[in-house]
Symmetry: C2
DNA sequence: CTGAAAGCGCTTACAG
DNA sequence: CTGAAAGCGCTTACAG
C-alpha cells in the first residue's frame, strides 16, 4: 500500500480510502490510485486491515465438526458455506473426532485467528469452557447437538420425532419386535433418538425390550456384529431401526450377508447415496443437513450483526423416505430362514 | 498483552518472549507473566503476531475444492487436515462448484487472509492467473486434477490406469460391448478416464463404439436417462463403466428400475458407502482420497519449509474392489428382458 | 477533498 | 536477562 501511495503520488490515507470506497475522493486521484494498484498487483492485507478497523470483523468464521468427511456433516458444512458466501465470509473447518480436547484446540485456534463467529457440533458433556469466547463477544451457534453446561443458539434435527415416525410406521404394519441399533450413548443425538424410540413405543402402549436395544456401535463393523447377534436370538426382531448412517451400512450389509434383506424390515436414520439402489430400496428418516447449515449460518450472522435476545432453538424436521425396507411386514420373517429368495416368493 | 505486561510489572517484550518461549527469561519474571496471563484469560492474537513476525507464517492454509460435501473431496479434505493438524496448521475450505470465477474468488479471499499455502482442485482450462500467488511466494499444490497453463506440484489418482483395470476385467470375462458413462468433458479427470477407456480397448485390439459412450452426465438423474437410452439400443451394451460416483448412483438405480441389475455388468469409478449392500454388490475402482490428501499436504508443507526444485507429480494408485456387479458375464444379458427375476433363476 | 499522525496487537533488532 | 523503540500493513480520527 505504501508503494501504491508512492507510485500514485498520494498519501496512505487516500489509497486506503479509494481501496475501501469510503468517503469522496476526486476522480482524478482515485483513478491514479487504482492504476497504481493495478500496476503493482496490489492486494489489501485483510489481516492487517482487520487489526485496525473499527468493527474488527475478519470476515471469517470457524466450523468445528466431528468429521468434515462424514456425509451428514459435510452437507452441514456446505449449507453454512452457501450462506456465508453471500456475505463474503469464509470458513475454517476442522474435525474434532468426538474428542472434547480436540474440540477445544480447534476453537482455541480459530479464536486466535480472530474469527467473527463459531459453528460447533459439540462433543463431550461440558461446553462451559466457551465462557471465554462469550466474554470476547464471539457469537456461537451449535449444530446437530445442543450444548451442555452452556446456553446458546442451536439448530438440531427432530431426532425424537424422526425416530417416532419410524417406530410408528413399523408398528402400523404390524411389527411388535423392533430392534434398535444406536450410536455412542454420550452423543446427545444418539441419546435423543434412543429416548425417542422408548417413548414412541410407550405412546403405543408398548414397553421396550432391552434385549432388542444395542447402543455404542458407531461404525459399520460393530453394527454388523450387533445385527448377527440380534437375529440369532430365540425370539428375534422382525424390524430394525438403525440410528446413524454408518450403522445403517453395517445393518444392511449384515442382513444381505444372511440373506434376510427381504425378511427383516429396516429403517435407517439419515439418508445415504445408493439408498435407492439397494434391494429392497432403503427406507430412511432423512435429515435436512443443508437446511441445518443454512439456518445455523443465518442465526450466526444475525448475532454477528448484533442481534441480542435469548438463545434461539431451531428444530429442523425430518422426513421418512419410503423405498422398500421399511415396508416389509412382520410375517416376512416367519418364512424359513434360507437366503437368496426373491421378493414376493417368500 | 499490554494489560498482562502491566499486571506482571514487566515490559511488552518480556511478555512476548515468555508467551513465545524464546530466549531465556528469569524464572521469576516468567512466572509472574504466566500468572498474569492466566488471570486475564490472555490469548495471543495470531493475526497481529503474524503481521510482525519474521517468517510471516499464519499457520493456516486454503483449500479450494469443487464441493466440500462431495464424498471424494470431503475425504481429500480430511486427509489434508490430518497432516496439517500435526503442524498446528488450520484450513480454510471452500467450494468452487466447477466455476472458474468462483475458484478465483476463493483463492483471492484466502490469499487476502494471508494463508501460507493453497491446495486446489482446479476448474476451468487456465490456472495462469495464479502467477500472482506464485510471485508472492505462496506455495500451491493441485489435487485430483493437474493444473493447465500453469506448472506446479500435483497429486492425482491414476485415472487412466483405474479405467484400464475396469476395462481389462470386463474384457477378461468376455464382454465386448462396454458402455461408458462419463462426467463433464472439460473436467480433466473425466477426460483422462474417457481417454483411458479408449486406450484400454485399443490395447486389446478393439475400437470404441461411440454410440456406447455418453459424456457430460455429472449428476445421477442425467446418468439414469443415459442408461435407459443405452439399454434400449438395438444392440445394447452388456457392461457399463460409470466414471464418477454420482453417475454410478444413477446407473445402479436405472438398472434396478429396469430389473437388469443381474444382467448388465457395472464397474463404478470411486467407492461409495452402501456399495457392498446393493444386490449384487457394486464393483468399483476405488480411489484413495485420504492418501491423496495426505500426499498433497506433505508436499505443500515441504514447499512452505522452503523445498525448491521442479514440480512434483504424484500419481496415487487405484484398486478394484470386486463385489459382484463387475463379475457379471456377458451372457447374463442374453436372457429374456423382464424385470424382477432373482439371481440364479434366470 | 487530502494528508500527517497515531494506533490496532503484536515481534524484533538494539541497547544496556 | 530486560526494556524502550521501531515497525508489520493497514484504518481512523483529526486538521486543514
Amino acid at each position: 500500500m505504501k508503494e501504491v501511495a508512492r507510485l500514485a503520488g498520494v498519501s496512505l490515507s487516500t489509497v486506503s480510502t479509494v481501496i475501501n470506497g469510503q468517503r469522496q475522493v476526486s476522480p482524478e486521484l482515485a483513478g491514479r490510485v487504482r492504476e497504481a494498484a493495478r500496476l503493482l498487483h496490489y492486494r489489501r492485507d485483510l489481516t492487517a486491515s482487520n487489526l485496525r478497523r473499527a468493527d474488527r470483523l475478519s470476515a471469517s468464521i470457524g466450523l468445528v465438526l466431528p468429521d468434515v468427511s462424514n456425509p451428514f456433516f459435510s452437507a452441514v458444512h456446505r449449507g453454512i458455506e452457501e450462506v456465508a458466501r453471500q456475505r463474503g465470509v469464509f470458513s475454517f473447518a476442522g474435525s474434532s473426532d468426538e474428542d472434547p480436547t480436540r474440540e477445544q484446540h480447534l476453537i482455541e485456534a480459530f479464536s486466535a485467528r480472530s474469527v467473527d463467529g463459531l459453528v460447533i457440533a459439540p462433543t463431550g458433556d461440558d461446553q462451559s469452557y466457551l465462557a471465554r469466547e462469550r466474554e470476547e463477544g464471539i457469537p456461537i451457534v451449535f449444530v446437530d447437538r445442543a450444548p451442555r453446561q452452556f446456553d446458546a443458539d442451536s439448530v438440531v434435527s427432530d431426532n425424537a420425532g424422526g425416530i417416532a415416525s419410524a417406530v410408528g410406521q413399523l408398528l402400523a404394519i404390524g411389527h411388535r419386535r423392533i430392534g434398535y441399533l444406536g450410536d455412542l450413548e454420550d452423543i446427545p443425538t444418539a441419546a435423543e433418538r434412543r429416548a425417542g424410540y422408548r417413548d414412541a413405543l410407550g405412546e403405543h402402549g408398548l414397553v421396550e425390550d432391552l434385549q432388542l436395544v444395542r447402543m455404542n456401535l458407531h461404525n459399520s463393523t460393530r453394527a454388523q456384529h450387533a445385527v448377527f447377534d440380534l437375529v440369532s436370538m430365540p425370539n428375534p426382531p422382525t424390524a430394525l431401526i438403525s440410528a446413524q448412517n454408518l450403522i445403517t451400512v453395517g445393518t444392511v450389509h449384515a442382513l444381505r450377508t444372511l440373506g434376510l434383506q427381504h425378511r427383516i424390515a429396516v429403517i435407517g436414520f439419515d439418508d445415504l447415496l445408493l439408498a435407492d439402489a439397494t434391494e429392497p430400496g432403503l427406507t430412511v428418516v432423512a435429515q435436512d443437513a443443508l437446511a441445518i447449515g443454512h439456518s445455523a449460518a443465518e442465526i450466526l450472522f444475525a448475532r454477528i450483526d448484533g442481534e441480542s435476545g435469548p438463545p434461539r432453538r431451531v428444530v429442523v424436521p425430518t422426513s421418512v423416505i419410503r423405498r422398500g425396507t421399511g415396508e416389509i411386514g412382520p410375517r416376512a420373517s416367519e418364512s424359513e430362514r434360507v437366503g437368496g429368495d426373491p421378493p414376493g416368493v417368500a
